[in-house]
């Protein structure tokens, strides 16, 4: 049961082979047994989860259940959930119990009837690529506990990889769904910007942040995206588009699919064995009837520098709300109002968050705004235009998700720039606002490798199709780490 797909779980629940209560209890037991070593969850509330499971069972009994009603899920602790402690991985919110639900939580719990198992660990305010910036300590990768699970959705990734949950939510500002999915052998999808509501999703960089599913397969991701996506008037950047069934094209054959291979993603900078795994995945696609064409993203090398201006600029503005007045941490001792702000923020934020707020304050300040912020936004346009050109020649773009497999805990923690470069293949997708996925495509030294798929705007159903057909031909995504029985 712990390795079952969402569809199988749905069938088991519908056939009354298991109740949601039993299923939820099964995963809660696994969490209490395996989480102390992994630190994937920061908050578990068994009673709350079991109450939701009882409600789901009532819906199933009454015949009003949806496809995913009663299936347990892990929620990244960036999503506000009413009555749940919602920390965003920060001391600033360590005691914050949300008075309201994020739209994603409302849609998944209240509407679809999914059962939240708890809140997963993450890099503080989603700023990190290894889950080491969390106030609640690092998460360990179930494939090798001396290594990081990636970040910022590291807790969600480790939870699903160790089967502490059948699936999880994540968010992706610069790679935070795709990179941990790659490092933990999961399938993760970052939708087109504006497809999933950001309401109640604690803001990091508002023009880049996007929520999405992390699961064992593309099929699971499609079913989850069906519950997460949709117009929300409470998010001013939510797109008012017709409702889609993201699973509608899963089975479509791939013959005639044109795969674009950006020469910039296949040059230096990527570990050779990782690259070999990616190339053999592409060969598999050719077997499935796809053709490849070389494309170019000539400005992609500028994505990391531009991102580290734009994201911190937006973060410095977004995180100004944490002032110790209305919610969150307030320093115990202070003098003036200004002193209260300065001490509350100094004590409530961790090092990486403070660094990014300061970069943001600097690049937005008078005299540097043009040279940094506007220049970064102009480069963002060049990067987005590169994709427009590339998609004239192909249907989907492929390459590595991450230049390496999971690195060791502490290996990059002291050098922010080295850490930033681990997102070198994922960031451009956020800057352009495109949908992207990571799909398991092999192992190097026992550690998973992810293949990145990048689609055109609103091509989620196609990406899921492309990932699903590959997963029918391969079994990489079905491999599980040892020691989680």
């Amino acid at each position: 049961m712990i390795n079952a797909s969402l569809k199988q779980l749905s069938q088991a629940l519908a056939a009354k082979k298991i109740s949601s209560f039993e299923l939820t209890q099964l995963f809660l037991d696994r969490i209490s047994r395996l989480n102390p070593a992994l630190n994937a969850f920061v908050t578990v509330d068994a009673e709350k989860s079991l109450n939701s499971a009882r409600a789901a069972d009532a819906r199933i009994a009454a015949g009003t259940a949806g496809l995913l009603t009663g299936i347990p899920i892990a929620q990244k602790d960036i999503f506000c959930a009413e009555g749940w402690r919602t920390t965003c991985g920060s001391k600033m919110l360590a005691n914050f119990v949300s008075p309201y639900d994020a739209t994603v939580i409302r849609k998944m719990e209240s509407e679809a009837g999914l059962v939240s198992l708890g809140k997963t660990n993450m890099d503080e305010f989603a700023m990190g690529s290894s889950n080491e910036t969390s106030f609640f300590g690092p998460v360990r990768n179930p494939w090798d506990q001396a290594r990081v699970p990636g970040g910022s959705s590291g807790g969600s990734a480790a939870a699903v990889a160790a089967r502490l949950a059948p699936a999880a939510t994540g968010t992706d500002t610069g790679g935070s769904i795709r990179q941990p999915a790659a490092l933990c052998n999961l399938t993760g999808l970052k939708p087109t910007y504006g497809v999933v509501s950001r309401y109640g999703m604690i803001a990091f960089a508002s023009s880049l942040d996007q929520g999405g599913p992390m699961a064992a397969s593309a099929e699971d991701c499609a079913l989850l995206l069906n519950t997460m996506a949709g117009f929300d008037e409470r998010d001013s950047t939510s797109l008012d588009r017709p409702v889609e069934d993201y699973a509608r094209d899963l089975e479509k054959p791939l013959s005639g699919l044109r795969i674009g291979l950006p020469k910039e993603f296949f040059g230096e900078g990527c570990n050779a064995e990782v690259m070999a795994a990616v190339r053999s995945a592409i060969a598999e696609y050719e077997e499935l009837g796809a053709t490849t064409v070389e494309v170019s993203l000539p400005n992609s090398h500028l994505s990391v520098p531009a991102y580290y201006v734009i994201a911190p600029a937006e973060a410095s503005s977004n995180l100004s709300r944490f002032d110790g007045v209305r919610y969150g941490y307030r320093a115990p001792d202070y003098g003036s109002l200004d002193d209260m702000y300065m001490k509350s923020r100094a004590q409530g934020f961790g090092e990486e968050v403070k660094r990014r707020i300061m970069i943001g304050a600097y690049v937005l300040s008078h005299g540097y705004y043009d040279a940094y912020y506007l220049q970064a936004q102009r480069i963002r346009r060049l990067i987005a235009n590169d994709f427009v050109e590339a998609f004239k020649q192909c249907d989907v773009i492929m390459g590595p998700t991450s230049p390496t497999t999971a690195f060791k805990l502490g290996e990059k923690a002291a050098d922010p720039v080295q850490m930033y470069l681990s997102d070198i293949y994922t960031i451009a997708v956020n800057l352009a606002g495109l949908p992207g996925m990571s799909v398991p495509c092999g192992f190097v030294g026992g550690l998973p490798v992810g293949l990145q798929l990048i689609g055109n705007y609103f091509a989620e159903a196609q990406l899921l199709n492309v990932a699903h057909r590959y997963q029918q031909a391969t079994d990489w995504h079905q491999r599980r780490p040892t020691g989680i029985e």
């Binding site: 001013s236 919610y327 200004d338 600097y362 705004y369 922010p416």
Partner: protein
């Protein structure tokens, strides 16, 4: 709302006076070799309303300079005539009807506040 000193307010004015263009060019050119001084780091921390000790300022200085070295790669690119891209979708802000849509949640929202009294948020005295 916390106001980040004067810096953030100024960003929404017409950026940089053309009359200062020469100054801008000199500033950018020197950036390649220039590093943030300790004083600048402290000034930024103050703008961001984050208290830093002397030793924190020093380690932050090292990290920020490393990051700015990475960012400097942007300066080699000629972006003349390129429209800045502020958002992933070039859409204008949606407007809604001017109607009350939310119920009163004051009690729930203030329950998570550090200090309130008579429905007001309490902070240190600002005006004597």
């Amino acid at each position: 709302m916390l106001r980040l000193g004067g810096a953030v307010e100024k960003t929404f004015m017409i950026p940089y006076n053309a009359f200062h263009f020469k100054t801008l060019c000199t500033a950018i050119k020197s950036l390649g070799t220039m590093s943030l001084t300790l004083e600048q780091v402290k000034r930024i921390a103050h703008l961001a309303r984050i208290e830093v000790s002397e030793s924190e300022a020093l380690s932050t200085q090292g990290h920020l300079n490393g990051i700015f070295q990475l960012i400097e790669q942007m300066q080699a690119v000629d972006t003349t005539g390129v429209e800045p891209m502020a958002h992933a979708q070039d859409l204008s802000q949606r407007l809604r009807a001017d109607l009350v849509t939310e119920a009163d949640h004051r009690a729930a929202y203030q329950a998570v506040a550090p200090e309130t009294e008579a429905s007001l948020y309490l902070v240190p005295k600002v005006i004597e």
